[in-house]
Symmetry: C2
Subunit: 144 residues, 2 copies
DNA sequence: GCCTATACATAGGTATCCGATGTAATGTCG
DNA sequence: CGACATTACATCGGATACCTATGTATAGGC
């Protein structure tokens, strides 16, 4: 009855969720905002709809998220020169700095904790990161 | 300037967050409710305050979460026989069934995805799960 | 019997999401 | 070229999930 692959897959989600929840409290920046600027950092300037698809949220949600990011000065929103309906959202220097700040906070916490866990070495960490990264399709849409 | 431990630690959080976000959409159950019944499943009956500490949320938040769980029939809330101020929250059979259902959905998705990733074997998954699990202190309170 | 600490509940506010719906620009097709 | 569907967003109304501040009742020390 016990299927190791299945059981471990379930555990992976549970522990990943708890890690994320613990780390989120370390910085006061809203999670939704961080996700958006993180996506912009990786993909470059994108429209509202594309951002929503990549972030797996509805388009109105992304409209609101981008509006609040503009208020914070973390992104710029300009009309698309090639399509008067569309917008182009660009990461600003302040947004890039904020992203770096939060990532550093997260990394500090995880790295410090790992340093006192002798049973896990750098290879284990690299393995975990590669597995989590590969689990999510970048563009296509599977069940995940 | 590049520190592999630090960089990988940051990436771990980013990819874990994306995995969790992707998986959350697979079931329609509220995430807060699932976390609470998951904690009850592991720890057994707990009071409101203890639940809040374990789940890293404020006590009023947990009061509300438990109230909605009682409405759904997933937990029972009874007065603590040894302390008239306190309550004891207990996982119900329906709650246990819901927990199993969502865990199965999550595990199915992750396992299916891993099955088509030849570069990751069961050992890699076990390594990742162990690392994520050990990252979080069970009771004490570090920076994580 | 006080007085403080503890276990919750309530009130009020913010952030984050959703679906439904409206608007304006784009592309298509006869 | 004009009707029409499609696309890219914005707005609205509402739900959920958090928070802080504050109130209430019981417990326990002296």
């Amino acid at each position: 009855m016990s299927d190791p692959l299945h059981d471990l897959s379930g555990d992976l989600v549970v522990y990943a969720a708890r890690l994320v929840r613990a780390v989120r409290r370390l910085s006061d920046a809203p999670g939704a905002a961080l996700r958006v600027i993180s996506v912009l950092d990786e993909h470059g300037p994108l429209g509202i709809g594309e951002l929503a698809r990549v972030d797996r949220c509805a388009q109105p949600t992304m409209s609101g998220a981008v509006a609040s990011l503009v208020e914070r000065g973390w992104v710029e929103k300009n009309p698309d020169p090639e399509d008067a309906r569309a917008s182009v959202v660009t990461l600003s220097p302040d947004g890039r700095a904020e992203l770096a700040r939060v990532r550093r906070i997260n990394a500090d916490a995880v790295a410090a904790r790992l340093a006192v866990l002798p049973q896990h070495d750098l290879d284990d960490l690299a393995t975990a990161v590669a597995l989590l990264r590969d689990l999510l399709p970048t563009t296509s849409e599977g069940t995940l």
